[in-house]
Amino acid sequence: MTDWEPKIVSFLCNWCSYGAADLAGVSRMEYPPNIRVVRIPCTGRMSPKFALAALREGADAVWVSG
């Protein structure tokens, strides 16, 4: 399991964190490549179902960010 890399399913608000993620790119910052972004129109769209489903499907963590 040494080369195990976690997958973190990330639900990012289109207007906030998704923008921050884009800006991080524009600013050429670096961060670990473990997140998999699902763009949602607003964190209000986030349903507990999604978090549960992501974990059920084997995601190692779920991150919701507005």
Binding site: D22, E30, P41
Partner: protein
């Protein structure tokens, strides 16, 4: 095309290319120390040596400068090549044993110690610097000498004055032999290597000659600073052109003179922050820890020079104590010429102090030294109170000087307290709250345009035409009109646009062009045929992510019919090719793996539309901003991530459905609710721009509170102007005035409101597309200071009425007292009524003019004569009006004893109670809103705790509501004087017209929709929606009565209702459960 073999594989290159270039294209790495893309290769370091087989024999050549030829065979990684390189590294290391780059290379090649005699050089004679200097068009240096004597030098070893210290040589030097520091010490001999100061970061950071001003700049394309670019000095360089993959850089562009014919001009040149360098006693120019508030803004910003880390500049340590000095360059005629108040500094200083404490923790001591605290904006007083609660210290004192403490980075400050004692405190950092002033070039522009300026050099306007300059057709907005904050500037700008629109109304829509409409292909029911376009974005993506691998991977995914990769997917030609492919391959879903949908989704959607596909059959996959750019040191995982993201996008897009955008006609009629100054201003502007307008007014006349006002702060009589305005409204055939009318019911939504008004018992239904709420406010009727007990005790408006009537009593007064903040800024109404300080001072001056012998007193808490109203305050003091400050916990006492009316107040200077016998006492009463909860309900717009309406955005949307189609102006928004009411009335009209002028609006297709079969009528969606989009289907409906439905016009597609619907009855089109689940399911498939 030349074909040859590279490591046994067939490769192709262009005639004239070198081996290294072709190898790079095919991703074959060849080490080199002396190669630079923009420079001619020289084969100096020999590290790029490769094995070449020419058909007969093998030899070794340098890949960087060996041209390719048909049929040659190159090996870059053979044992012989490896051994050769190892020897070269060993030799270089022997020459320069201390160079880290070579040490690293040696380690890679397994060399522990060179076998040769070591020297202590740091130059490997790669010649990059020499070639770069030549490229710069300068040739200040060259390789001199021969053999072991060879070195990089200036001609004849003498100091050169040709060198421009541009630093290009240092930028390419691989070993650190040449550094900027060395250039400074040995060549230029200047104190500092000067950075090109970043304008955006207030010079706290440097920037490059080719630069984007800041991350969010629009347009977000780099510019070349001609003043510092070497090319414009020597004609050389142009290195940037070699790196630009799309040849976008054109150094030959010239300034152009463009002549435009326009019907109107709007001036919004803004302000210039005051430069406090000239204040010697503040040591701003000399001490790094004395900074301006603008510099503080950057230091506090997450994207600022310190990354949002709050440090003092002298040693980058975290400060423990920070002071702000207010009124630097404002309200000051001793040390500068700015007598006006800059209006914004008190508020921004409090904001900075609060943010500083948020950044550094509660232990940070923040002290604001001020004269009068001017938090007269909406919700500002609350912010001030909260800041006090958070421990920000407010010290009422103007500090004369800042003394650096020798041997430390701290600063000493001596000041006089309110009690008259002299205190000394030390601070780590002092922020000068600099004021706003008009730049000389703006004054020159004003001169050129022939418009008049005020004493403060702001653009001269009047209270009744606050955005019109002295020259017809030229309008002004923002800080050039007068110092002001963001919301006020935004209001101004909308108003200026409306003013320009009024004179240009006839030309509306004469310059618009209609795009060609491509008929949409019906793809419903078709099996998904997905096209995946993977973008290389030059090297932006392809440099990190293995684009061909991602492309090939995409081809293996279900339903994918076509894959390709593009150099730049967003370029015009690629768009056309994409359109062809979508048509040709009959694709019905498209995924573009490229940059971010936030910037490029609309572009690709347009491509879909042009190809006849519904634009929602599209998904973008962010493999640049959120992948290649942020994982550049981890190409393998970045490629994996890109594949995951593409897979997620493909599984989502397969489920995408064509969505319809509802089209909605906008009824070309406006309704203004409230016929006061603001409402009339809004209606007048709407009508002048050609829109039929209804004014609904509760009372029996137009004009509202303005009837009771005497003069404006610029000395204009209100009555005459008001009369003219009412006449203008009455004469306008497009305006219908409904007096004595109230609103009983409102139905509908943006574009299609149906409002029932009741006029003297009769009801009438009006249809309108937009509504402007201008319901105004009223003076508070106070229950303190013996108001109502004696005819000598008046409210401000009652005094105005006496002034208008020229009451002879006023000329006989011996003593008049004004009490400020009556009902404002207290626990019950924690807001400032904004106009009262100016108004009382104006009236005090008027009383003094009518009877110069009268003693006039103003009892105040903070004088808030913001902007150029400050002149009135100055004038009042000059006229001998006496200002006595009182505190909220020691309010003045008013006593009526028979005929005697006395006011007792504790004087702030004497610290003693003072008794004033008054012939007239005027109470500056608060402005309270006509809190209209029913109206708020009708239009689904919010009210705040004080009863004012809550605008869409406190800064950027001050004259509109979050609810589409409803706008706001006047006192219903916040207390304000006549000029600001008129401006906001126009602003509301302007915002309304942005909607009316479109005639039709398209709603987004990505809205929520209910499935009434699944709905359980629980009403959560109706309760939770911030936009009032869901409602119950009426009980008398034929089907699904009582179930929820969603109005697509009001829905903003946030999905809150979808997530909160337990019954799963709501679908968010474009982000539906199955689509998001598809992405989740695809995360971990393999």
């Amino acid at each position: 095309m030349i074909t040859f073999k590279l490591n046994g594989k067939k490769v192709q290159g262009e005639e004239g290319q070198y081996i290294l270039q072709v190898a790079e294209k095919y991703g074959v790495e060849i080490p080199t120390l002396c190669h630079h893309k923009a420079l001619e290769p020289a084969g100096m370091c020999r590290l790029c040596t490769v094995e070449l087989f020419d058909g007969r024999r093998t030899r070794f050549v340098t890949a960087c400068n060996y041209p390719i030829w048909e049929g040659m065979e190159v090996k870059t990684d053979s044992e012989a090549v490896h051994q050769g390189r190892k020897l070269i590294v060993e030799l270089l290391l022997a020459r320069c044993p201390e160079v880290p780059l070579l040490q690293k290379l040696a380690e890679d090649y397994g060399i522990e110690k060179p076998r040769f005699k070591t020297e202590d050089d740091t130059c490997i004679l790669c010649g990059l610097c020499v070639r770069m200097c030549e490229k710069m068009g300068n040739s200040a240096i060259a390789l001199t000498g021969r053999g072991v004597e060879m070195k990089v030098d200036t001609p004849f070893h003498i100091q050169t004055d040709i060198c421009m210290a541009c630093g290009a040589c240092a930028s390419v030097c691989p070993t650190g032999h040449i550094t900027l520091e060395k250039i400074r010490q040995e060549i230029t001999r200047k104190q500092n290597v000067e950075l090109i100061p970043s304008e955006y970061d207030m010079g706290l950071k440097g920037r490059k000659p080719v630069y984007v001003p800041y991350a969010q700049a629009v347009p977000n394309t780099p510019a070349i600073d001609r003043d510092v670019c070497i090319h414009f000095k020597t004609g050389g360089c142009k290195v940037c052109t070699q790196f630009c993959g799309v040849n976008a850089i054109d150094h030959s562009q010239e300034d152009e003179v463009v002549e435009l014919e326009v019907g109107s001009i709007i001036l919004s040149p803004g302000f210039k922050p005051f430069d406090p360098s000239r204040f010697d006693t503040y040591n701003y120019a000399k001490h790094p820890n004395v900074i301006t508030s603008m510099e503080m803004e950057r230091i506090l910003s997450a994207s600022g020079p310190t990354g949002g880390h709050l440090v003092r500049l002298s040693d980058h340590k975290e400060p423990k104590k920070i002071a702000w000095f207010q009124c630097v360059g404002s309200r000051d005629l001793n040390r500068c010429d700015n007598a006006y108040c800059s209006s914004v500094c008190c508020m921004y200083a409090i904001k900075e102090a609060v943010i500083a404490k948020e950044h550094a923790g509660d232990d940070l001591d923040c002290a604001i030294f001020f004269m009068d605290m001017r938090t007269h904006g909406k919700d500002f007083e609350r912010f001030y109170n909260n800041a006090q609660g958070k421990g920000v210290r407010f010290v009422r004192s103007r500090v004369h000087s800042i003394d650096p403490i020798h041997g430390s980075d701290e600063l000493a400050v001596r000041y006089v307290t309110e009690q008259g004692e002299i205190e000394t405190e030390t601070f780590d950092m002092i922020v000068l709250s600099i004021g706003l002033e008009i730049a000389p070039e703006v004054m020159a522009l004003a001169d050129k345009l022939g418009i008049e300026l005020t004493d403060g050099n702001f653009c001269k306007t009047t209270s009744f035409e606050p955005v019109e300059t002295s020259r017809k057709g030229i309008f002004v907005c923002g800080a050039f009109q007068g110092p002001k904050d963001i919301p006020q500037s935004v209001i101004d700008s909308s108003a200026a646009a409306a003013s320009a629109g009024e004179i240009l109304a006839a030309a509306r829509d004469t310059c618009t062009r209609q795009p060609e409409v491509v008929p949409e292909t019906n793809v419903v029911g078709e099996r998904p045929r997905i096209g995946v376009f993977v973008c290389r974005c030059g090297i932006n993506i392809a440099g990190v992510v293995d684009v061909p691998a991602v492309r090939d991977y995409a081809a293996s995914l279900p339903y994918v019919e076509y894959v390709t990769d593009n150099l730049y997917s967003c370029s015009q030609d690629t768009q056309e090719v994409m359109t062809q492919i979508i048509r040709g391959k009959k694709l019905n879903r498209v995924v573009v793996a490229a940059c971010t949908p936030k910037t490029h989704e609309p572009l690709f959607q347009e491509t879909l539309t042009n190809a006849g596909l519904n634009k929602y059959l599209f998904e973008m996959c962010n493999i640049r901003n959120q992948d290649s750019w942020v994982h550049k040191n981890n190409p393998e995982l970045a490629t994996e991530k890109a594949k995951d993201l593409v897979r997620m996008a493909v599984s989502k897009v397969a489920l995408m459905q064509p969505l319809e955008e509802a089209e909605l006609e906008i009824k070309q009629v406006a309704m203004v609710i409230g016929g006061g100054i603001a409402g009339m201003a809004a209606a007048r502007s709407l009508a002048k721009q050609g829109y039929q307008t209804h004014i609904v007014e509760r009372s029996d006349r137009l004009g509202g509170q303005a009837h009771r006002l005497f003069r404006t702060s610029d000395g204009q009589e209100v009555a005459g102007n008001l009369k003219a305005m009412i006449k203008e409204i009455g004469d306008d055939p497009l305006i219908t005035v409904h007096l004595k009318s109230e609103i009983k019911q409102v139905e509908g939504f943006v574009g299609n409101f149906k409002t029932e008004i009741v006029k003297e018992g009769k009801s009438e239904e009006l249809e309108h597309g937009v509504a402007v709420i201008a319901t105004g406010g009223a003076p508070l009727s106070p229950d303190e200071y013996c108001y109502g007990d004696d005819p000598r005790i008046l409210s401000t408006l009652e005094l105005d009425e006496k002034l208008m009537a020229d009451d002879p009593e006023l000329r006989k007064l011996e003593s008049a007292v004004f009490i400020q903040c009556v009902g404002s800024r207290d626990d019950q109404r924690p807001y400032c009524s904004r106009v009262c300080c100016t108004h009382s001072i104006e009236n005090a001056i008027e009383l003094k003019e009518r009877n110069p012998d009268a003693d006039v007193y103003i009892l105040y808490r903070d004088i808030r004569t913001y902007g150029e109203r400050e002149y009135l305050y100055k004038q009042a003091r000059e006229k001998g009006i006496i200002f006595i400050r009182y505190r909220l916990d020691a309010k003045p006492r008013v006593e009526l004893d028979g005929k005697d009316l006395t006011v007792t107040v504790t004087d702030h200077v004497l610290q003693q109670p003072v008794q004033i016998r008054a012939d007239l006492l005027t109470l500056a009463t608060a402005i309270i809103p006509n809190k209209d909860e029913a109206l708020a309900q009708f239009f689904k717009v919010p009210l705040n705790d004080d009863g004012f309406f809550v605008e869409k955005h406190a800064k950027l949307g001050p004259s509109e509501f979050a609810t589409d189609g409803v706008f706001l102006c006047g006192l219903a928004h916040y207390p304000k004087p006549i000029d600001e009411s008129i401006v906001q009335g126009r602003a509301a009209a302007s915002r309304a017209i942005t909607l009316l002028a479109r005639k039709k609006i398209h709603t987004s297709g990505q809205v929520a929709e209910t499935d009434p079969m699944l709905c359980s009528s629980c009403g959560v969606c109706i309760s939770i929606c911030p936009y009032s989009a869901p409602s119950f289907i009426p009980e008398d409906a034929r089907m699904f009565a009582g179930k929820a439905q969603i109005n697509p016009v009001l829905c903003k597609g946030c999905g809150l209702c979808v997530a909160s619907c337990r019954s799963g009855a709501i679908h968010l089109k474009g982000f539906d459960n199955d689509q998001i689940f598809a992405q989740i399911f695809a995360v971990n498939q393999d």
